[in-house]
C-alpha cells in the first residue's frame, strides 16, 4: 500500500481522482441510458458506437409524449398509485410505529416481529391468494388492488424505521404537552410528529418509491391497458418497439426521473433509510 504513504496534497488528489473514476465506471449504465435516449435509432446501431450523440435528438421523447400510446396516461397512473399508496401506508404505518414505541402493550414484541417478517416475504408468495381475494371483492382492474398491495411493502418498512425515532423522543415532552391541554392524539400530531421529521421524510420517500417501482402487483391485478402504470406499460411496449432502443430508453427516463429528483433532494434521508431499514431490520 505505497499509495497511502503519499503525502498530503498528492495523496488527496490521487484518492479523489480514483473515486471519481470508480464512480464514473459504476454509474456508466445510467449515462448510457441518458445518452441512448438522445440518439437516433440509426446511430444506436452504428458501429463503432458513439460515446456521445453526434446530434442530440429529442424525437424519442417527443414520440413518447405526443405519439400514439402517449406515455402521459401511464405516467399519471403511476403517480396516482404511488401517491395513494404512500398516503395509505403513512396513515396506517406512522401511528403503528408510534404505538409500538410509546405504549407498553401486550404482544408488542410479537407485533414488531410480525412486521419484520412480512418485510422479508416475496411478493410471489401472496400473489395467487391476493388475486383470488381481489377477484372476489371486485378489486381486479381497479387502482385499489395495486395501492393496497404496495402498501403492504411500505407499512412494515415505515414501522421499523420510525419506531427508533419515536423511542428517542423524551417522554416528558408528551407530559408537558398534556399540561398545556393536549390529549394523547393532539400531542402525537402537534408535538411528536414535527420532532421526528427526518424519519418521516425517509418513510414518505420510500413509501412513494416502493409503489412507483412496483411491477408485479400492477401487472397481475390490472389487465386494462389504459390503467397500467409506467412499469407495467413498458413491459408491454417492449414487444411493440422491438429494437427501437432510443424510444425504450426515453421511456425509461420518464420512469427514472422522479426517482432521481427525490434522490437529489433527499439523498441524506435515503441513505439513512437504507442503513436503518436493513441493519436494524
Amino acid at each position: 500500500m505505497k499509495v497511502l504513504r503519499l503525502s498530503g496534497r498528492r495523496r488527496s488528489i490521487f484518492l479523489n481522482v480514483t473515486a471519481i473514476i470508480i464512480s464514473c465506471i459504476f454509474l456508466f449504465p445510467l449515462y448510457w441510458l441518458i445518452i441512448s435516449s438522445l440518439k437516433t435509432n440509426a446511430e444506436i446501431f452504428q458501429s463503432p458506437q458513439t460515446l456521445f450523440p453526434s446530434q442530440i435528438q429529442f424525437t424519442a421523447y417527443y414520440d413518447q409524449l405526443f405519439g400514439p400510446n402517449s406515455i402521459i396516461g401511464p405516467f399519471l397512473n403511476s403517480l396516482i398509485i404511488a401517491t395513494s399508496s404512500m398516503i395509505v401506508s403513512m396513515l396506517l404505518g406512522v401511528p403503528a410505529a408510534y404505538g409500538l414505541a410509546r405504549f407498553k402493550i401486550k404482544g408488542g414484541k410479537l407485533f414488531i416481529l410480525t412486521f419484520l417478517i412480512t418485510q422479508m416475504l416475496p411478493a410471489t408468495l401472496v400473489l395467487t391468494p391476493l388475486f383470488l381475494i381481489y377477484k372476489g371483492l371486485g378489486f381486479l382492474n381497479t387502482f385499489l388492488a395495486p395501492i393496497f398491495s404496495d402498501s403492504t411493502i411500505a407499512i412494515p418498512f415505515i414501522v421499523l424505521i420510525l419506531r427508533p425515532y419515536f423511542l428517542s423522543l423524551p417522554k416528558d415532552l408528551e407530559d408537558s404537552a398534556k399540561i398545556d391541554g393536549c390529549n394523547t392524539f393532539t400531542a402525537f400530531v402537534r408535538i411528536m410528529l414535527p420532532l421526528s421529521y427526518p424519519g418521516l421524510i425517509t418513510a414518505i420517500s420510500f413509501a412513494f418509491l416502493f409503489a412507483w417501482n412496483d411491477l408485479i402487483y400492477a401487472m397481475t391485478f390490472m389487465n386494462i391497458a389504459e390503467m397500467r402504470p409506467l412499469t407495467a406499460g413498458i413491459y408491454h411496449f417492449m414487444d411493440m418497439y422491438g429494437t427501437e432502443w432510443n424510444k425504450i430508453m426515453a421511456y425509461g427516463m420518464f420512469l427514472v426521473a422522479p426517482v432521481i429528483i427525490i434522490f437529489v433532494f433527499l439523498q441524506k434521508y435515503i441513505v439513512s433509510g437504507l442503513i436503518s431499514g436493513s441493519v436494524k431490520g
Binding site: 470508480i22 445510467l30 412486521f115 391468494p129 432502443w245
Partner: protein, 293 residues
Amino acid sequence: MDREQYYGYLFVLPALMFMLILIGYPIIYNIIISMQKVDVMTIRDANRQFVGFGNYIDLFKDGLVIYVIKNTLFFTVSSIVIQFVIGFALALFFNIKFRLAERLRGLIVISWMVPVTVTALLFKFMLSPSNGIINDILIFFNIIEKPIGWFIQEKTAMWGVIIANAWIGIPFNMILLNTGLSTIPYELYESASIDGANVFKRFIYITIPMLRPAILSVLILGFIYTFKVFDLIYVMTSGGPVNATELLSTYSYRLSFTIYNFSQGAAVANILFAFLFVVSLGYLALINKDEVM
C-alpha cells in the same frame, strides 16, 4: 384494560389488521390452495378437490422444479459473491477520509434506487448481441473475439442477469459495510501498527472480526432479497432461453398466471417461502443476539 393498553392498541391495530388481511391470510390461503386442485375450471367452486401433497409430488416428478431450485441457488450465491466482494472493496476505499468520499459514496447508491424495470431493460440493451456496448467493450480490450449472444445461450443468459443484479446490490453491500467500518475505533489500528502489524494483518485481525455482525447481516439479507428476485428476470429473459434463467419466483408466476395452474403456482411459492423462512430465522436469531429488539 388500562389507558396505556387502550391507546397502544388504538395506534397499532389498524396497521396490524391491514397486514393480517392482506399478508397473513394470503399466506394461509396459499398453503390451502397448494393442497387443492385449483385451475381455471375449478376457481369458482366452493368445494375444490383436496389433493394433499399431490401438487408438490407432481412438481418433483416433473423434475423442472429441481432444476429451477438449482438455478435460484446459483443465481443467488453468484450475485452475492460478486456484490459482496465489490461492495466490500468500495466500502474500504470510501472509508478512507478524503474530500469527495461521502459525496461519491452517496451517488453510487443511486443504482439501488433505479426502478428494477429500467435496470432490466438497460442491461438487456447493453448486453444485446447486435449493438450492446458491453460486447463492444469486451472486444475492445481483447477479452472476447466476437460478440456474445448473451440471452441466446443458456450459460451466458444466467451471467447476464447476475451482472445486472449485482449492479443493483453493490451499493447495498457497500453502505452497510461502510457503516460497520465507521464504528471500528481508530485507536485499535493505531496500537496495532505500533505493535508492528502490517495492513494485511490489521485487516485480518481487526477489520474482519470487528465487522463480523455487519458482514453476517449483509450476507443474510442479501440472500433473502436475491432469492426472491422477480422483476429483473421477468423483464430481461422471462426465464428463458429454455428455462435457463427460470427462478422459483418466475416459475411460480408462470404456473399461476400463464397456464393458470394456481395450485402448482402456490406450491412453488411455498417452496420459495420455505427457503426464505429458514434463512430469516437465522437472521432473527442474529439480530436478537445483537440487541435491537
